[in-house]
Amino acid sequence: MVSVLNNPPEVLSNLPKAQQSTAIRITGVSVSYPVGKNHRKTILQDLNLEIEEGEFVVVLGETGCGKSTLLRIILGQELPTSGSISVAGSPVERVDARSGYVPQKYSLFPDRTVLDNLTMGPETSRYHILGRLKPGFRAFRRQVREEALKQLQHMGLQTSDAGKYPHQLSGGMQQRVAIAQALMMKSRVLLMDEAFSALDPGTRGSLQRLLRSVWSELKPTVVFVTHNTAEALYLGTRLIVLARTSHSDACGSRVALDMKLPESGMSLNRNGKEFMDLVHHVESFSCGVSHEPISSLGETI
């Protein structure tokens, strides 16, 4: 653990810098909202980040520090007040298919079966609304369905689940399908907003393991927002802690800690002193970060 804390980030990064290319570049980004007349509340302030391809970045911070705002501006759902964002080398101005997205809630379309949820992306991508009348659509659809069934099994679900509607699945199963849905698009960037927060510790643990194995296999760039320090340490290869520099509305959050973690994952005893020290160390950068009681971490780490 000491080595994790003391070594400079470069030492812990497995990939040499020269071989990596930037997946997400955030330059001088500030986000503020008007509050009443002649007053603005700053959420993010002068944020500069470069996220390399294949990195698993976990963003941690106290409630209201701008974690989700950061995700929304990377996604293009929101535009920064100043600064610029680029994904895969081109600026982000609106939501598009460059990034996959897994939110905490409403991650699946309730009116579609699991299989239709999975095939929607590839189908829409190739055949827009009237394009479905074209002759090649049926064959393409059959092919995508086969691929979707494989993806479903890969996510640990049964093929019999393919015909179910989202409301017939548990929360954990829904998030598995949501991850599969994003992977079906083969996006190189995956954005996850508190994707496992609403799940019980057991389900969360199994989904964390699944996500780690998917990431190890495909190496997409992942930006994972969470408020759970243990989860952050387990999942990420890079940890970014956002924290407000002052309680004033004029001061937004900045990067308080930017730490690389071993790519092979943290192999610390989940109940051990070393692990707890690391958790406290990370939390000291953001005193408001919620840390669940150690008993509930048993399943997650």
Binding site: L75, Q77, R94, V95, D96, A97, S99, G100, Y101, P103, K105, Y106, S107, F109, P110, D111, R112, M120, G121, T124, S125, H128, I129, Y165, P166, H167, Q168, Q181, A182, M185, S187
Partner: protein
């Protein structure tokens, strides 16, 4: 046996008891009617205000198997029952009112599409929402004279009255439904490479459709109300026209079956929409 209070929120009445209870008011109404009719007929055997069973049977027979006064007479001996029904008063009126009703229903489809666009596309919202909010406050019946002047007293004015009466409320209702679709779903669709029309019609419209059908079910009665208003003022056929004509002759023996027939038709349309919704959207019921 424990006492069951009607004000017990946590009560669990058994199925048979609940079904019996649901019939009580119907039975009471029929009983009250029969008693009132008998009393009035005891005082005046020619009473037409509360017709007895015999008079009602005659009225139903006249409505279902006899042509309207303004139509040609068909000899019952040479014609089949079905032919008689096809040329009956009630058939003619139902077809006439039905045409107006379903044409109006069809004209509500563009209103729903407009609502979808208003709720989803910011420029549509900016352009239309305030105008429709204002237009919704105009009492549709107050426009009836204007509609008669503009379209004449033919079909167009009656259909326009129904559409003008129901469409603004429906548009506002559907707009709210569209706005209530979680933003995450729309964002997610864009990340799946959907374009604006994919999002509008393949994501949002599909999700709000069951609610749109429910909204339509709630609007069936207002639609019929506006249809009746139009027919009662200026028409030469239709269910409301016949009721208005029969009122002049104190023809309660025909008016009552007509009222029940209209209620039955509306119930049937409502039931069909409910079944359609359940079949088409099994995910929605949950």
């Amino acid at each position: 046996m424990p006492f069951h209070s009607p004000f017990d929120i946590q009560a669990r009445p058994n199925r048979l008891f609940a079904q019996t209870l649901s019939c009580v008011l119907f039975v009471l109404c029929v009983g009250l009617y029969i008693q009132t009719s008998a009393k009035r007929h005891h005082e005046n055997s020619e009473d037409r205000v509360v017709p007895n069973v015999h008079q009602l049977t005659g009225g139903i027979h006249a409505s279902v198997l006899e042509p309207a006064e303004e139509d040609d007479y068909l000899a019952p001996d040479n014609t089949s029952k079905w032919e008689l029904f096809r040329h009956s008063m009630i058939w003619k009126d139902t077809v006439a009112s039905g045409k107006r009703f379903f044409t109006s229903l069809l004209l509500l489809v563009p209103a729903v599409i407009l609502a979808l666009h208003i709720g989803l596309f910011p420029y549509f919202g900016a352009g239309f929402l305030r105008f429709i909010l204002f237009f919704d406050k105009i009492v549709a019946l107050s426009l009836l004279p204007i509609l008669f002047i503009l379209f004449g007293i033919d079909e167009a004015s009656k259909i326009a009255l129904i559409v003008i009466g129901v469409a603004p409320t429906m548009i506002l209702d559907v707009t709210q439904m569209v706005k209530a679709v979680p933003r995450e779903q729309i964002v997610k669709a864009f990340t799946l490479d959907a374009n604006n029309f994919d999002v509008a019609y393949r994501v949002v419209f599909r999700q709000v459709l069951p609610q749109v059908i429910n909204s339509l079910r709630l609007n069936l009665k207002p639609m019929m109300l506006f249809l009746f208003a139009g027919e009662m003022i200026a028409a030469s056929d239709g269910l409301a026209y016949r009721i208005a004509i029969m009122r002049r002759h104190m023809g309660m023996d025909v008016i009552l079956p007509y009222v029940l027939w209209v209620a039955f038709l509306l119930y049937l349309i409502d039931l069909s929409l409910r079944v359609l919704n359940r079949r088409m959207h099994p995910w929605f019921q949950s």
